[in-house]
Amino acid sequence: MNKLSSLIKGIILLLAYLVVQLLERQGVLLPYHVQILSLCCINVILVVSLNLINGFTGQFSIGHAGFLAIGAYASAYLTVVWQAPFLFAIICGGVLAGIAGLAVGLPALRLRGDYLAIATLGFGEIIRVIILNTDAVGGARGFSGIPKYTTFGLAYLMAILTVVVIRNFVTSDYGRACLAVREDEIAAESLGVNSTYFKVLAFTIGAFFAGTAGALFSHYLQYMAPTPNQIGFVKSIDILIMLVLGGLGSITGSIVAAITLTIIPELLRGFAEYRMIIYPILLIIVMIYRPAGLLAGNELSLSGITQFVKGARAHGNHT
């Protein structure tokens, strides 16, 4: 059954890609639309990677944009200054971000809850300020002239890769250990789970993927400015909002939220100034009435859907 459902999922994903290509070829989808789809994929990577840290391991990281920044700037430097191939630059961006995740995680993850949140926010800002003061990557003027290497196909592929890797991680013993740390750290420790190790591991992996997303991001925008909006706490909070609305601990929720919250602002360009009023209100309402987010920590799966359709059982809702 597993092999079959994997095959079906693979085919659906491939079809989706082909449909997009077809619509673009026919002119139904403008290049602008395809770019938005690329941005959707980048955001999917960002949100799913943050979900690993905040949702599955229960840590509170709100400096995720810092890892995005490292990946974005490092990869841009490699492609622009060293003429490196894009794939290499992406991997390097990810690895460097992962190392930063390790460096930040090791000391910070000794802290709990609110303190950890503030510490990660602080680290994110420090990274931004360091970039702001580094002339080699443009300093305050920003880094311009980045080649447009990010295609929809590449972004799509990387999003799929990220989701598969993280999903496989989460449904293995490694993932269970992270969940245990989230649910009850003391009980987890008494069962032999080294909670610090797994917190740092989740942090590092999440940072790595955020770095790869950053590489895609800088080669999509072609210009990076070290502002809070792009790589600072405003961006971190944007990602956090998507994560929370989609549901902590639900990968499907993250994907849906990332795509929806990327497309909607584009559709509502005219209402841009109301966006930052509606979002926070939405956030507060969700937190009060359905804090687990839209999908409440559940996943949409093929077997789940078929069983729901059969009416056998409702896909468990436990808020």
Binding site: Y174, E183, S190, L191, G192, N194, H318
Partner: protein, 258 residues
């Protein structure tokens, strides 16, 4: 010849600021004993458990298990050495399924690597099947095989306690520490628990040390008792001699001992 487990606690002192929660406590456990740690509330019993499992810092004294020094070791390492525990307030992973609760306990024995998980190798699939099988076995031991896919937090209290015991068993422990396992149970459930613990000791050859206030359970189950009062060990011995021990009776303020 397998080395026999023996727990030795020497002059254990746990001090929080000015408060001596545990003061010069010495005792030892022979393998496969059913022992009880009793005493009035606040006597320091859970603190002793916490010291044994690395959850609170030991101010002075030594703890050794199987001739291995465990004093102030990290909790996840102590689990490795064969000591498992349950908690006074049931610390199950409430939002996870019962099966997942047990599967997590297999963690330290897991062989496959991160890459195996990501690429779903054959080794991964094999071992996952093994883990699930073992978890179901442990559940069967406590008579909860049919609740495997239930969310742990949704089970009735008594069943949650049994799940916690089953989870502790997944560690293949040589010493099982149970913190008030009968709390909130009716007499029938308590009797079932007594028989379960005895069965576990007989079938799995483990040593059991439990903290309990239910004197009926303690007197009927335990072969050896350690009595704590205000952090001091005031008496040790078999149930009969403890029942007649003046100091113990005094400590409980003449409370029911039979």
């Amino acid at each position: 010849m397998a080395t026999t487990p023996e727990l030795m606690v020497n002059n254990l002192c746990v001090q929080f600021g000015g408060l001596k929660a545990v003061d010069q406590v010495c005792f030892s456990l022979k393998p496969q004993t059913l022992a009880g740690l009793i005493g009035p509330n606040g006597a320091g019993k859970t603190t002793v458990f916490n010291a044994l499992t690395g959850l609170c810092p030991v101010t002075s004294g030594q703890i050794s298990f199987n001739e291995k020094q465990l004093t102030n070791e990290a909790p996840h390492n102590i689990a490795r050495y064969g000591i498992a525990r349950t908690f006074q307030n049931i610390r199950l992973f409430r939002n996870l399924t019962v099966l997942d609760n047990l599967r997590i306990a297999y963690h330290q024995n897991r062989q496959y690597s991160l890459l195996c998980s990501v690429f779903r190798s054959a080794r991964f699939k094999r071992e996952e099947a093994q883990i699930t099988a073992k978890a179901k076995e442990a559940l069967a031991l406590v008579d909860l095989a049919d609740k495997a896919d239930h969310i742990a937090g949704s089970l009735p209290y008594g069943e949650q306690r049994r799940v916690e015991i089953a989870r502790a068993l997944m560690l293949n422990p040589k010493l099982l520490l149970l913190d008030e396992p009968a709390a909130g149970m009716n007499p029938h459930e308590t009797q079932c628990l007594l028989e379960l613990i005895r069965k576990l000791r007989d079938d799995l050859q483990i040593t059991v040390l439990l903290i309990e206030h239910d004197m009926k359970l303690v007197m009927n189950l335990c072969e050896e008792l350690f009595v704590l009062d205000y952090g001091h060990l005031i008496a040790t011995g078999d149930p009969k001699s403890i029942q007649n021990n003046e100091r113990v009776v005094e400590a409980y303020l003449g409370g029911c001992m039979a």
